[in-house]
């Protein structure tokens, strides 16, 4: 066995198994605060003890210790309430010894995801709570990613946990009859969380960790709900999107549009995983919007090199199917981009002019797309104005650099 320094071992075990441990404790004790506190206490004890005695299985040690801490806390609470003398701290039990293998930590993450994304929890708190409890991200990391102040996020988390405890939100995984409502809440929460990670082409510090967590989280969902095609499709989408991350920035740090990305830089193993998931979803024969979105990513990821023509017409067909499912101005905008490639920039711009400009005015790509089409139609003055609008909306650094470059090329 290789020697690890205790700090690295603790950080590694907490990151690897933290979500599982907190989920297992929460499921056992039906108490999110207790689960979090007990895990934090176990980490504190590890920091004190591991430098002199590093356990064989750090994750298992954390789990057993956190469980014992949770039992202690419950005992102290009960004692306080009944005003009887404090009972002695519990000894390590035979069960503790048995559980000293990390593989024996029960995987209750799905249960915890359903709790965190319960429709009774405020929508703006669901993603934050899931990332905090199931993925073990710190409040600081989540606050940075969601662009809100840490105290505000903390308050949001506290309120959500109090609601879950006081209102008696169930810790059971709901039965399939409740899934249309409950699974939809889970998937849309994770979609919002992932969209934030994905928006940022640079994938710098604030999002990198949680993009990786989204791969894990969707893998858990796909593994535990293998008969839910929308669930598999979302897991596929995250893989397709993450596979392209290495090609999303050029040498100067500017964004590279999808059609100009070098497919040879994309991660083939992730794409293969995505394709397998999407095929499994299709075999279930229950189409849905997430499968169409994943398929859109999939047709792009099937491109092997820049020498192959971009899949514009396949993408156009998929956007049409998506719009059959539900009218959506953002999907229409994306479709217009593709239509401009298939039928020319005038056709694309005509489609955009039909959209509700008031609704899309705050959406930076609405202006960037028009700028590009106007430039291609030989209307540089209007293009310039549209680029200025897009740049003024303060996009991420990579997007900004790209927009400024396009504007200069006019």
């Amino acid at each position: 066995m290789k020697t690890l320094d205790p700090g690295t071992a603790l950080e590694g075990a907490a990151r690897e198994a933290g979500g599982r441990i907190v989920a297992a404790l929460a499921a056992t004790f039906r108490d999110l605060d207790l689960a979090e506190e007990a895990f934090a206490e176990a980490c504190a004890r590890a920091a004190a003890i591991w430098p002199t005695a590093l356990p064989l299985d750090p994750a298992a040690w954390l789990y057993v210790t956190a469980r014992r801490c949770a039992l202690d806390m419950i005992r102290r609470r009960t004692v306080r309430r009944r005003l009887t003398p404090e009972a002695p701290a519990p000894e390590a039990t035979a069960e503790d010894v048995l559980a000293s293998d990390a593989r024996l930590i029960p995987d209750e993450r799905l249960r915890l995801i359903f709790v965190c994304c319960h429709p009774a929890v405020a929508p703006e708190a669901r993603a934050a709570l899931t990332l905090r409890l199931v993925c073990g991200l710190s409040a600081r990391e989540i606050a940075r990613a969601f662009l809100i102040a840490e105290p505000a996020l903390f308050q949001r988390l506290t309120r959500a946990k109090k609601k879950i405890a006081e209102a008696g939100v169930s810790f059971e995984v709901p039965g399939p009859d409740a899934w249309p409502e409950r699974l939809a809440a889970v998937l849309s929460t994770l979609e919002v969380a992932y969209a934030r990670a994905h928006e940022d082409a640079a994938g710098t510090g604030t999002h990198a960790g949680y993009a990786r967590e989204m791969l894990d989280l969707t893998a858990v969902l796909a593994e535990l709900l293998p008969n839910e095609p929308e669930c598999l499709a979302f897991a596929a989408l995250v893989r397709f999107a993450e596979a392209r991350r290495p090609a999303r920035l050029d040498a100067e740090g500017a964004m590279v549009p999808l059609s100009e990305q070098d497919p040879r830089l994309w991660s083939r193993p992730l794409i293969a995983e995505g394709e397998a998931l999407l095929r499994a979803a299709a075999r279930l024969n229950r189409p849905g919007p997430r499968q169409l979105r994943a398929a859109l990513h999939g047709v792009w990821c099937a491109r092997r090199s820049l020498a192959e023509p971009p899949p514009w017409s396949a993408a156009l067909a998929l956007y049409d199917l998506l719009l059959d499912w539900r009218e959506d101005p953002f999907v229409r905008l994306n479709r217009a981009v593709v239509l401009a490639e298939v039928a020319g920039p005038a056709a694309g711009l005509a489609e955009i002019k039909k959209l509700d400009a008031a609704r899309l005015d705050d959406f930076q790509p609405f202006h960037a797309v028009q700028a590009d089409l106007l430039a291609r139609l030989g209307r540089p003055d209007e293009a310039l104005a549209a680029y200025d609008r897009a740049i003024a909306m303060a996009p991420g650094a990579a997007e900004r650099l790209w927009l400024i470059r396009r504007r200069t090329e006019l």
Partner: protein, 116 residues
């Protein structure tokens, strides 16, 4: 856990027509209440007379003042409640979805403070 299911509806829905709407809804409530009682879930509940019969006692600065009418004037008013004992919120929400309403309306699900 015990929950109060508070029913908010527009009372005009019951005033319109020949009172048939009211009779149908009452029958539906009786059927649901009977089922919940048989399952050992129902702990109480009642329909309330319309808000034009309400009197509100308000305490302000140690003084009580009475006024004719409900606590708050709103399009939808508290019209009745169920008190149920179920394992968790999801079970209470499932019952809330089954409560008969004459038209649009809302059922607020509130946990009851238990003594222990």
């Amino acid at each position: 856990m015990r929950y109060a299911l508070l029913i908010y509806e527009n009372e005009d829905l019951y005033r319109a027509g020949d009172g048939r709407a009211m009779d149908d809804i009452i029958a539906a409530h009786q059927a649901l209440a009977g089922e919940l009682a048989a399952a050992g879930v129902l702990q109480g509940g009642s329909g309330l007379k319309t808000v034009d019969t309400a009197t509100t006692v308000r305490k302000t600065g140690g003084q009580h003042a009475l006024h004719d009418g409900p606590y708050a004037e709103a399009r939808e008013q508290l019209g009745g409640f169920y008190l149920v004992e179920v394992p968790d919120l999801d079970a209470a929400l499932a019952i809330a979805k089954r409560i008969p309403l004459a038209g649009d309306g809302a059922v607020e699900v509130r946990p009851v403070i238990d003594e222990d």
